[in-house]
Amino acid sequence: MSAAATGEAPRRHASRARSGRFAFVFGVLLLALFFGSVCLGPTVRFSVGEAWRGLLALVDFGPDLESASRQSILELRVWRALVTIGVGAALALSGGFIQGLFQNGLASPSLIGVTGGAALGAAVAVLIVGGYAPRLVLEHVGSNAYLIPAFGFAGAFATTALVVYLSGGGGRTSVTALLLTGIAVNMCVAGLFAAIQSLTLKDWEVSRAILAWTFGTLDDRSGYHAAIVFAGLALAAACIPFTALELDLLKGGEADAQSLGVNVGKLKWLAIFAAAVSASSAVAVAGQIAFVGLVVPHLVRLAIGGTHGVLLWLSLLGGGVFLLGAEFLQRWWLGEAALQPGVVMSLIGGPFFLMLLIRERREVGQW
């Protein structure tokens, strides 16, 4: 029987076309939201033409805007929008990897300790900047603004490494062991974080800085922040071609994938590395923003199904659209970002998670 006779080729073509349409829509939305975010603001508004000229000036393709202050405001908004896109994309991509690895649509990057570790790292950095470190350290570090992202990144990565190490080492680690170790390490990290919060309660400035970080922030971001998040995102995206098909084959279980020739140990390392590096870079520059890594890959899977080769790329694009869209709508309606991004995502993500849980339990007849 020929492929055409069974409708195989048209079906494959239709599936590819559908994914392509989604990618196109995400791309257009991203561009529109980017310009919208740059043009709209509580005090200063730019026309699209002026924003375009300002953007060209930013990359040395034209003169600055007539007003230096307007050019500065535009620059700030450009970095904020770029960082927002990068953070959303990185968190969603990380979630896509984690959900593929755990074969569970309710999994998110926090499972492997990324979020908790970043919070702890950032809290330690706040302590140092707040003057709690020994004088020798303070003399070298001072109030270095780059310290918090750097410590956030290091904390996230170190915690993930600890989870992987304690669960038995990449090659022989079962996904269940990884999950349980992740929960246990998260508890330990949360305990240390709470201890820091408790000890600094009387120091209003430090206490406030730690608290603010847990809400996430996308304001006052610079090229430095954009560089971190896009470097992490690029590293993670580079892992997609080497993990996507393997994650598809993992659906039949680890032993089945192994029997088909998948190096399951290497796959786990690579997927965890990709998830950790992208989520770490995101939380390092923007603080804790929950639920993007859970919601976006799940929505993409619901919308188009498909293989990880499609799912991961569309999650990356969709994450940028989702976070930038939520930020843009908030600024559009309220005239400013009244709620921190972490709070907005929790307000959206909590009910969404509940809905997923009810839906999945209904499907298996347990509700």
Binding site: M1, A3, T6, G7, E8, R11, P241, A244, L245, E246, D248, L249, K251, G252, G253, A255, D256, Q258, S259, L260, G261, V262, N263, V264, G305, T307
Partner: protein, 261 residues
């Protein structure tokens, strides 16, 4: 490639201290369909996993074409040994054709893209297992029998010289049981070697060129089915409740029988 699998003195101990294999040994040659039989818990499935290189024996060796199975890179191992599992842990929401295409993974290039030739092999494998009509359906929509045939089709698409099959006829009706064993016998006639773990002594009797009996983690007997499927060999292993007879072609029949009923 000579498609020869040899296990010598294989032992395997689980982390909880249970010794599932204790000196198992076997040889599987090209053109052979070997049935591994034995009571529940005798170590058959653990042996199959050791032979497939999915777990490393605590001691002893497993070699395919003279090379240690556990030392082979995963993709090279998959090109030589294919496994047909008893079942998959969950019902997959994957198109049947894409599922069978997974069997071509070890043959794909660096960028893991399926070529026209891979798709042609997949469709030929599905046709051979009488499953081309379900190629566009999801795995989760198939009956137990259809799923089992698709699993065999995937192993065929894998184009490995050695097939390791774990209880392939569980939950299948008689016609489909025969169909699965016919497919395996045909593959063996084509030059492959197949080892089938089974509780169905009568299918083993009809299709196997040889039977290996396992008990308490050891391979205690091996030989032509005519000699192995006898009261003298099986009663000490399975107990006394067996009835022995002969098919029309003279092959042995063994059925459970309660003499008191």
């Amino acid at each position: 490639m000579v498609n020869r699998l040899i296990a010598r003195d294989v032992a395997y101990e689980y982390q909880n201290g249970v010794r599932a294999l204790d000196g198992a040994a076997l040889e599987l040659e090209r053109g052979e369909l070997v049935a591994v039989i034995g009571p529940n818990g005798s170590g058959k499935s653990t042996l199959l996993r050791c032979l497939a290189g999915l777990i490393e024996p605590s001691s002893g060796t497993v070699e395919v074409d003279g090379e240690a199975v556990v030392r082979l890179p995963p993709r090279e191992r998959a090109c030589r040994i294919a496994v047909v599992p008893q079942f998959l842990p969950k019902l997959l929401d994957v198109r049947v054709e894409d599922f069978v295409l997974g069997g071509r993974y070890a043959h794909m290039g660096r960028w893991r893209t399926a070529q026209k030739q891979d798709r042609a092999i997949v469709r030929a494998a599905l046709e051979r297992c009488d499953s081309l009509d379900v190629a566009e359906r999801r795995m989760s929509e198939l009956s137990g029998g259809q799923r089992q045939r698709v699993l065999v089709a995937r192993a065929i698409a894998q184009a490995a010289g050695v097939l390791l099959v774990d209880e392939p006829t569980n939950s299948l009706d008689p016609e489909h049981q025969l169909a699965v064993f016919r497919s395996l016998a045909e593959l063996v006639r084509g030059g492959r070697a197949a080892l089938v773990v089974t509780h169905d002594l009568n299918l083993a009797s009809q299709f196997a060129t040889r039977a290996i009996v396992m008990q308490s983690g050891k391979t205690i007997d091996s030989g032509p089915v005519d000699r192995v499927l006898t009261r003298a060999v099986l009663e000490p292993v399975y107990g006394p409740h067996l009835h022995f007879g002969r098919f029309a072609n003279g092959r042995p029949i063994v059925v459970p029988w309660d003499a008191t009923s």
